[in-house]
Symmetry: C2
Subunit: 130 residues, 2 copies
DNA sequence: GTTGACGTTTACGTTAACGTAAACCTCGAT
DNA sequence: ATCGAGGTTTACGTTAACGTAAACGTCAAC
């Protein structure tokens, strides 16, 4: 029995918090990534909506398309479906993990490259100071 | 005195190796990311060109725009410039490193999320087998 | 000498992810 | 009553990163 404090957010609150525009949030809804409630006309966002938005933006920072982010978010959903569907889901999850690990390797290579560049630049600065 | 074996590549060789189209490679040239030699009309790519291409594609996998990739690649260049320029370069390098570290954190969070999803899916499978 | 395989330029088309603007409602405060 | 701050829908515009196609050159092979 978890007593969930039913806190809610307006669209502009979320926009401010994450540094995006309301247009962007509505666009995500249009693409089926968010489905807020309505109080009359007005959209009302739950903490769960907020989390979904957070995940979308995280995916974006990693270069994922909205479709990819949606797929990843849906992976966490109540795993409903038959055995075959569940097995396919497991495969997709694993495939995403592999992709993320490849990104990790890419980042490390790029970081090493930047370390090198930084060192060379500092060396060039030492040279300038005669 | 390093004896550089002047190996060269055709555009379709590079396209094949990296699983992209020749159109893409020409597009990168158009955007100033590659500047191959010409044998008559025909483009001829050096091993250095190949490396640049590799870096572009690595950046792409990390969600970087071509402009960002160009910036990163240029960071590795012969650090020419005065002290002020070199210092600004150092700042940009450091800023990129911070961004990459943030991406690392994002990836770890997402990996943890996927691990969780995977476990839950496997649990759902066990449930199915009664 | 024509036919492929490979190269080139030029140019219009496409998709994702929003930006921008107009035109309108709603409500609490002045 | 009006006004400003927020909300809404609708719709056209924009940018990046290529795709696609046409129209042409070149050269080794048949």
């Amino acid at each position: 029995m978890s007593t969930t404090t039913a806190h809610s957010y307006s669209i502009s609150e979320l926009a401010q918090e994450f540094g995006i525009t309301t247009r962007t949030i509505r666009f995500y809804e249009d693409k089926g990534l968010l489905t807020p409630q309505r109080r009359g006309q007005t959209r009302v966002y739950t903490p769960e909506d907020r989390v979904r938005l957070k995940l979308i933006l995280r995916g974006k920072r990693l270069g994922f398309s909205l479709d990819e982010s949606r797929e990843i978010i849906d992976m966490y959903d109540p795993a409903h479906g038959n055995v075959e569907q569940l097995n396919r889901l497991l495969d997709r999850i694993d495939s995403k993990r592999q992709q993320l690990r490849e990104q990790q390797r890419d980042i490390e290579k790029m970081l090493a490259q930047l370390d090198d560049a930084s060192a060379r630049t500092r060396a060039a600065l030492k040279e300038q100071s005669k």
